[in-house]
Each structure stands twice: as C-alpha cells, then as structure tokens.
Symmetry: C2
Subunit: 342 residues, 2 copies
DNA sequence: ATTTTTATTGCAATCGTTTGCGTTGACGAT
DNA sequence: ATCGTCAACGCAAACGATTGCAATAAAAAT
C-alpha cells in the first residue's frame, strides 16, 4: 500500500524518461517536444501527482510559508488581523503558520527559533507584553530577514511597522466625550510598556489640554490585564474614593469599558446620563450591550492585509526595506453609540 | 554575506570531520568519542547552528506540522479551540498551520491540497457550512491519513470525531427555560446541514416533549447566518406575526440570542420577565450585556487539547484508529444568568 | 608476531525537485 | 563522406540531514 503521493520519478518510470524531462515538461520548458509534454501531463494527472513542497523548499531555500506571532488568538482584534493575513497569504500561495505567545517572552523566543528551523520566509509579529528588549528581533533584521511588525511595534532601527493611529483615535474619542459635556474623564490605560498604550494615553491627554481641561493624574489608572473584572474594580474604587466624582470613562479597550459600565450601573449611575463611556477596538459585543458601547474601531482586517502585502513584497524582493522609513499608519474610526451620548 | 543558517557541513568543515560524524555527535550517538562530541557541540554553539527542519522533513517524510482547517478565525468558539490546539502542538514540538475556509467548500478543498503538498502530518478539521459531500475526506481516510474532526463532524466510516454534547446542552437549556415557567419557546436553529444544528434542535424538541409541551413548528426558524441582525429580524417577525406570542427563545448561538434580546426590548418586552432567552457557546460578551445572557458553555479549549492529543497520538502511532469507534463527547455546562430567570 | 576485537569515523545513498551542461541522433549542407 | 546545426533529452550535482555499511586504526587476545 503506497500511501505517499506520486513523485516525479514515478511519472518518469512510467514513461521511461528521466526525471529532468518530467520536471521540465510539467513546467512547459522549451526544448521538450509537445508529444512528451502531453504524455507527461497525462500520466501526472492519472497518478494524481502533487509536487512535494518540502523538496521544493529545500532546493530553493524558500518555504512559501510565513510565521505569525501574536499574543493571543482569542481576541477580537487579533483574530481579525489573522483573518486578513490569511486572506492575502493564501491568495498569493503562501502558508501561514501560527504561534501564540500568551504574552510570554520565553514563548516568543522559542517560537521564533522553531520557525527559523522551519525555513520560514518571513515573520509577522505583534510582540508580547513582557517584551521590552528587542535583541532577538534586531539580530534577525540585521541579517536581512523579512519582518513586519503590526499593532504592537518596537522602536528599533530598520523595523517596518504597521500600526493604527492610536493617538488620533484616543484624541477623537476623548474630544467626543468632552463635546458631549463630560469633563472629569477617567482613562483606563493599557500596559505601560506598549507603545499603543502610551499613544492612546497621549491622545487622551492632548484632547483634554486642547479643550482647556486640566489633567488629573488620579483619573489615569493602569488596567494591565484588560479584563472586565479589572475594569469593574478600578472604576468602582475610583467612584467610591473620589470626592469629585468622575463623569466619563475612556478605556484603552472595550472589555475594560464594559466592566466600567457594569460598575457604574451597580453604583446606581446611569450610562450615558451620569457617565459617558467610550472603549477601544470595537469588539462585536459593542452593539449588543446595554447601552451600546461607543468605541474606536481599529481596521484589523485591513491591517492584516497591509502587513502581509508588505511582507510578501519584501520576501519577493518587490520592495526594498530601506525605502520604508516611516511606520504605516492606518486610520481609526470613532463609532458613536449610546454609551456616550446624553 | 551568508544570510542562511549554519549547516552541519559548516561544522564538519571547521573540524575536518565528516557530516555523518557531526550529525551523530549532535545526537549523542554511541560510537563517537566524547572528545569529538564536545568539539562538535562547541562549534555548533559558536555558529549558532539550528537544524534545518525542511531537510529533516524531506528525509523522514514527516513535517512535524499539523494543518488546521476551520470555517473562520474571528469566532469565539473556534479561536478558543485554536488556542487549545496550539497549546498541545507546541508543547509536543509540532507546528500549526492554519487555514480558514470562510465557509467555502472550494477553499476547503484547495486548502487540503496545498497542505498535502506541504507534507502535513495530519489534519484537524471543522468543515464548512457548504460541505455536504465528504469524498475529499474519505479519500484521505482510506489512505490512512490522520484526521480528527471536531465540532462539525461528518458521519462517514473511520472518521474520528470530537464534539460537544450539543443534544444534552440544548436539552438542559430548554428544560431550564421550561422550569422557569416559559412554555412557548422559540428555537433559532442553525444551518440544517450541520449535525450540531440538528442535535441542538433535537435536544430542544425532546425537552419540550418530555415536559409535555407540544412542538410548534412555526416556532422553529432557521437562522442560517447566525448574525445579530438575523436574530433580531426573525424574532421581531415572530412576535409581530404570531397571535399567541412566544415567551422564550433558545438560540443556536449567542449572537443570534443577543439579536433576539434586542428585538424583544425594541418591541417593549422585558427580558427576562416577559421573555426568557438562552444562547449557545458562552461568548465573552454574555456577561457584559443587559441582561446578562444565559448560555450553554462549550469547552472549546478542552476540545482543542483533546483533538490535538488524539491526532498526535495517531501520527506517532501511539493510537490505533480502529480502536476508536465512538465519537469523543465533551460535556457542556449551562451557565444561568439573568436573561432566563424571572 | 599474528589475529581478533573494539572504538571511531567516513562513504555514499536517500528523501523529491531543479538545472547547468553534456550527449545523442537526425538532418541538411558542403 | 564529413561536418555543423539543432532539437530533444539525460546525467549528475545540489539543497541539508540521516544511516546502513564499510574502513581504518589502535588495542587486546592468542
């Protein structure tokens, strides 16, 4: 019982020609008679021949596979990006191999190692929360290894970054809250070491300043895990402890925002009448909760598309990495729903 | 500029030994002097040697890679399963290559083809909604190719299926609604050709029957896409058209259930006082919406773990496929929240 | 001193495909 | 009859690692 696929040799044997001839015939090389080509293709069809991609990879030192490294799969934004990645990759004939780090640096490094062993043609990376040192990426970049960073991007030489305009998104969200008459606005911030968190906080701060509202540091609280419970507790504490109650929340992410809404409700505050809330990422549930949650939509799918197109162009030498010096920034969109409109 | 990794030959050249010796030294074969082993390992370290997995795959006809085929990534349940898959695979030294079919049969078939070309060691499959003919899978199974089906499983010879107890989950959910005093319960059903849909509907029907409630076919509506909008419209229509208004909804999935809740609210019905609602899958948003949505939790992560363990055991011949004749059924859990308790 | 044993290592084939170069034979031209 | 030309195809190396089977040398046994 021959379980393996038919090879070029099988075709060659059947026709009493050499494997070179078969190889060339299959790819319509000149110098092979039409007669032979016909016969080869016929037998190939008959034997259900499929080229062995592994052998090809070995020969060409190219695997037509790209590696994707992300913190977690069970995440609306990231899974959306994956979807975009998969789209472009498969349409251009590449495979996608996936590894989630679960926010662990160790895991991140070992994933890279095994992917390198697998002769990955390039990487698409959004690094973990633990990653503060980028040595392991720089080394690859120095070797000319194709890498595109997305969303969570490093600030290192030669890195090509695709990101959303977190600053502008946060600025718009906060300005919107202000324009609706909220002015003691809490910011549930993200992990400090991620640039996206910093950018969002900066957008929040600038929006306040530009509208003449003083920045109160006690209203800015880091929400490191980004869970609903965390958002709930932090919000509850703030409302309990502060004499001057807040009247707005701009959260670094939707889940924390949802927690904040629940906290407000449990304390007897009405959202949006007493407290306005805006989240970030536009998870699916935003339009399903009560009140529906205003949020900054990140173009995850588009980001996946863009990052992958860049990577493949890089791999196929259609693009010179040195021509890209600025990050590619995708625009966000503020989706105004009920949670922030009085 | 040598961008490629160092190979065994590089080590061999550096030490003036043959590549065989290096290969053996690296794996601590007997018959290689300790002295040589030491030196080889030293140089390997120095050159930052990483074995070329592609070459190994070619030699062994094994790629240490498994292929995952799922309908979509941006889906709470499926992404959770992926997470479980990734967990086991990486801990046992396997790569995961991913392909989403977007519910298209054509895409499903072509994914299988390219994965076969890539000498995938085995498949983890949840097929598309379009798939009604399983020829393309049977052929592989007949060749002894390792495949595990999960969640959406076929009824074909020799297939190994991992599924959740959809019947019991639906039965429990419906029974729960009945015990809470609801008795004209709508069922928003799933796509007819998926066995999970049928099983859930069967659970719903049996629960009604066993509690002496007649089954009203007009209350069973297929919700093919499973979107919030679809759930909304179907529910709205039912309430508008029927003289005897329903007082409960058991939905095939949470998103449709969320749509149903919105519809009820918009029609002025109170959930849970007028209408009780239970969903399926326990998406994250269940505890964030108002009222919090009761749902049947599917053990997605566990399913990923189990399916992958089975597959790898199959691949590594630790498991004889013929010993598994019954599907592996994982238990669901009914999470009772506010949407179904008066 | 000769044979046998043992410890180390190398040769070469193999996995499936590609590809530079050489070979073969037919044919027309001289 | 000899040569050159050209179409059509085969040889063999290469990609990187593994492995059965020698081969070699030194050490042990006789």
């Amino acid at each position: 019982m021959k379980i393996g696929q038919a090879t070029i040799k099988d075709i060659a044997r059947e026709l009493n020609v050499s494997s070179s001839t078969v190889s060339r015939a299959l790819k319509d090389y000149p110098g092979i008679s039409d007669e032979t080509k016909r016969k080869v293709k016929e037998v190939a069809e008959k034997l259900n021949y499929r080229p062995n991609a592994i052998a090809l990879s070995l020969r060409k030192s190219r695997s037509f596979t790209i590696g994707v490294i992300i913190p977690e799969v069970v995440h609306f934004f990231f899974s959306t990006v994956i979807s975009g990645i998969e789209e472009v990759a498969s349409s251009r004939g590449y495979n996608v191999i996936l590894s989630q780090t679960n926010e662990s640096l160790t895991r991140e490094k070992s994933s890279i190692d095994t992917m390198l062993s697998n002769q990955i043609d390039g990487f698409l990376v959004s690094f973990s929360k633990e990653t503060t040192d980028f040595e392991h990426f720089s080394r690859l970049l120095d070797h000319g290894y194709p890498i595109i960073f997305f969303d969570r991007v490093p600030n290192i030489p030669h890195s090509i970054n695709v990101m959303v305009d977190d600053y502008q998104g946060a600025y718009n969200a906060t300005s919107h809250l202000i324009s609706q008459g909220y002015n003691r606005i809490v910011h549930l911030a993200g992990p400090k070491n991620l640039s996206i968190s910093k950018e969002r906080e900066r957008g929040y701060r600038d929006a306040l300043s530009n509208h003449g509202i003083p920045i109160d540091p006690t209203l800015i609280v880091e929400c490191a895990y980004g869970t609903s419970d965390e958002g709930f507790k932090i919000t509850e504490n703030l409302f309990k402890q502060l004499d001057k109650k807040p009247d707005g929340v701009f959260a670094n992410n939707d889940i924390a925002a949802a927690g904040a809404i629940l906290a407000c409700k449990s304390l007897g505050y009405s959202v949006p009448n007493d407290v306005g809330v805006v989240g970030f990422s536009n998870w699916q549930f935003c339009s399903m909760i009560e009140p529906t949650l205003s949020s900054v939509s990140q173009p995850g799918f588009k980001m996946g598309l863009k990052a992958t197109e860049l990577l493949l162009d890089l791999i196929e030498k259609k693009l010179d990495p040195d021509t890209i010096t600025e990050p590619i920034v995708l625009e966000t969109e503020l989706l105004i729903r009920n949670s922030s409109v009085k």
